[in-house]
Amino acid sequence: MRNVSGLLFSGGLAFLLLVIATHLPFGQPLMLVGSDIIQASPHEVGSANVVAAILLAYRGIDTLGELSILFTAAAGVGLILGHRASQNVPPTQVKNNSGFISQKGIELMIPLLLVVGFYIIFYGHLTPGGGFQGGVILAIAFFLPVLVQSDARLDHNIISIIEGLAGAVFILIGLWAMFYERPFLQPFFNGLFAKGTLGELWSAGTLPLLYLALGLKVGAELAGLLATIADFSITETQGSLSEDDTQ
């Protein structure tokens, strides 16, 4: 019965969307806002990458909300899984390394991944990329050792400090603008953070700083989330093993 109703619901929804799709103008998107932003962003924000201008300047509060969602999800997972992991016995080490080649390969890759990650973050206001993408690459750089070496663990303390501080820095930059009687979260140009020339690395005021905070936060969040799940799955398998022994 439940399957039938689910099928009916999905079928109805698909039909509805198809009907709506035929009504919508195809190939000529309405650009009430987009074209204005493309016109205005070079001199209002000063970043060569229009997407970065939208993400951090025009809709900066959305980005703040999105990174809070990530933080919330990580905190929730940490609370649930951390709670369960602490109930189980602490794990004994199982030697389950994945061999010489993958270990050496990872050691080679980590610096490269770090460079690429930070490059994408620092050039986020000039080229496609930015905090979210660069942050994910940073997270992978720190998580790779956990995948190949079973005794490698990420330090949760450092991760939680980085994620807390990076988020706070993002907000504090926004509040810094308010300190100068500007609206909250406006990337502004002041002293060291000049507007610069469009397309140069040192341009767009505080916007690159916002991107750096965003990238670090996303990276720490994701690495922490993956590490929590990895820790949990290790303790879980061991916990079930010891339960089997007692039975």
Partner: protein, 528 residues
């Protein structure tokens, strides 16, 4: 005025910093949350009277609409901006040892709730709604009721998460359809375009999708299956907060969108029908419920159904009735949840409770009478308002709604009477005793006091509600306020107070004025 963005930002800052602060000082970290709540309350009280005459809007980052995101503040959003920190402070997990992450989640809940109320941008509303949802999934799975096995609560929160995620996707789909149809996300600009662009079947289906998405939190009829399970599984304080405050926030967002974007009568009828089904199904199941918390959870579904029926009445009178019922429920239901916290287990076990704890039972009777609508308690006046206005409608669907509502009230009376009779049953050797913590008891008394004060202050409460309904029901006021900075000087003057709007010629010729603003918009963007 743009300091009000701090209502959203400061709780977020506290949430991010709490885990870091807790490493050096647990006390400092815990205090920072309370401090932020107190600052928020002060901020709102500082600007309290300023929006009575005219609403205010400001652009985040200084990027003028429709390019940037705006916050819109009128009496409605300011009232909820005050209620959110106050309610979070009341239902703070005082009574249980909590980890710092839990406090952090509470702060995220506060921030997202405030953002949801203040935001004037469709996608921004979605972001804050999603943040609210994710924070409440986390809290539901952590704040487990005492004596309840955690796994039961986890299963409930997993179901809640699945349903909530489907709802969020639906809402996002609806927003995407609106964006494709109109090319903007700013609520004021959407409201300008809505009579042409959204007054069709596409707009209606976008409304249905958004209604389903927001309905998950608002306990709307088909998507409220999570309610009894979750409220029975989580701590009383959290269930009071969710039933009292969070459900209302989603309703308020729906009402805003309804006023601004969806003028179709079909949208109103859909809400009436879903509200009718909600009220009758909620009260029927509450009638059969075996324990107090579930009974209250189902009754909450029924009350939210009433709220939906009220908001589906066309015009400002519907808004007035809706606000009245919603705010009444916001006070009464948390107090009842607080009382029910000490009376866990099957209803039969509560037999003869009045002998051992007469004051608790007396308070329960008072609150139940208000919920039912016994004069002179506020519950009577709000139900009377709804009945009178349902009866004068010519549309037959509202007469059906009236019948359903009266039937539901009879059911409500039946089960509340049964519980009260059970409490006052004469038993020679009763084992019933209530285990209320002092915090819960004080909270319940405080909320009941608010209820009684509002009986005495009925005229001023009514005045406030009327002016709130007029202000939030005024679509043109919203548009004018948001576009005041780039509009013509006339447009700025036209930001009128709700009381003398009838004298303004503006209302009688909305289309001309709107076209003028529309041209201003085009000119304004061309100048840039």
């Amino acid at each position: 005025m743009d300091k009000l963005v701090l209502l959203v930002v400061l709780p977020l800052l506290a949430a991010f910093l709490m885990p870091v602060l807790a490493r050096s000082s647990q006390v400092l970290a815990r205090l920072s949350g309370l401090l932020v709540l107190l600052i928020s309350i002060t901020l709102v009280l500082n600007v309290w009277g300023e929006v009575d005459k005219q609403a205010i809007s400001f652009a985040i980052g200084g990027y003028q609409p429709p390019l940037g995101v705006v916050f819109y503040i009128d009496q409605l959003s300011l009232l909820f901006a005050l209620l959110i920190p106050v309610m979070v402070l009341i239902f703070w997990p005082w009574n249980r040892p909590s980890s710092i992450q839990e406090y952090s989640l509470m702060m995220l809940l506060t921030a997202s709730a405030s953002g949801l109320m203040l935001s004037g941008d469709l996608f921004n509303i979605y972001v804050f709604y999603e943040l609210l949802a994710v924070a409440s999934y986390g809290l539901v799975s952590v704040q487990v009721r005492q004596g309840q096995h955690p796994v039961v609560a986890w299963v409930a929160s997993l179901r809640y998460l699945l349903l909530g995620s489907v709802g969020s996707v639906m809402m996002l789909l609806g927003i995407a359809i609106i964006y494709l149809q109109t090319g903007t996300l700013n609520l004021a600009q959407l409201s300008l375009l809505a009579p042409e662009a959204l007054n069709n079947i596409t707009g209606l289906s976008a409304f249905v999708l958004i209604l389903v998405g927001l309905g998950v939190k608002a306990e709307l009829f088909p998507v409220n299956t999570w309610v009894p399970e979750v409220y029975a599984g989580v701590s009383t304080r959290l269930s009071a907060l969710m039933a009292g405050l969070l459900s209302k926030l989603a309703v308020i967002v729906i009402v805003r969108l309804l006023v601004l974007l969806f003028p179709q009568p079909e949208a109103l009828h859909l809400m009436t029908v879903l509200g009718m089904l909600g009220v009758i199904s909620g009260e029927l199941v509450a009638w059969r419920a075996k324990d107090m918390t579930r009974m209250l959870a189902f009754s909450s579904i029924g009350q939210l159904g009433l709220v939906f029926i009220a908001f589906s009445l066309p015009g400002n009178i519907g808004l007035l009735a809706g606000f009245a019922i919603a705010l009444h429920h916001l006070v009464v239901k948390p107090a009842l949840f607080m009382l029910a916290g000490g009376w866990s287990g099957r209803l039969e076990k509560l037999s003869g409770m009045a002998q051992s704890s007469p004051y608790h039972v007396a308070l329960f009777v008072l609150l139940a009478m208000s919920l039912l609508g016994v004069p002179p308690l506020p519950g009577f006046w709000v139900k009377l308002l709804l009945v009178m206005n349902l009866a004068v409608q010519t549309d037959p669907v509202y007469h059906f709604a009236l019948a359903f509502m009266l039937l539901a009230t009879v059911l409500e009376a039946a089960y509340l009477y049964r519980v009260v009779m059970l409490f006052y049953k004469k038993e020679n050797h009763t084992h019933a005793s209530s285990q209320h913590s002092l915090f819960d008891w004080i909270t319940a008394i405080a909320l009941a006091a608010v209820l009684l004060i509002s009986v005495v202050q009925l005229p001023s409460v009514e005045r406030k509600l009327v002016s709130m309904a007029y202000q939030s029901g005024n679509r043109l006021l919203y548009i004018h306020t948001v576009f005041a900075n780039i509009g013509t000087p006339e447009a700025r003057i036209d930001r009128m107070s709700p009381t003398d709007q009838a004298k303004q010629p503006l209302v009688s010729e909305p289309s001309i004025k709107e076209k003028a603003i529309k041209e201003d918009l085009v000119l304004g963007s061309a100048e840039q």
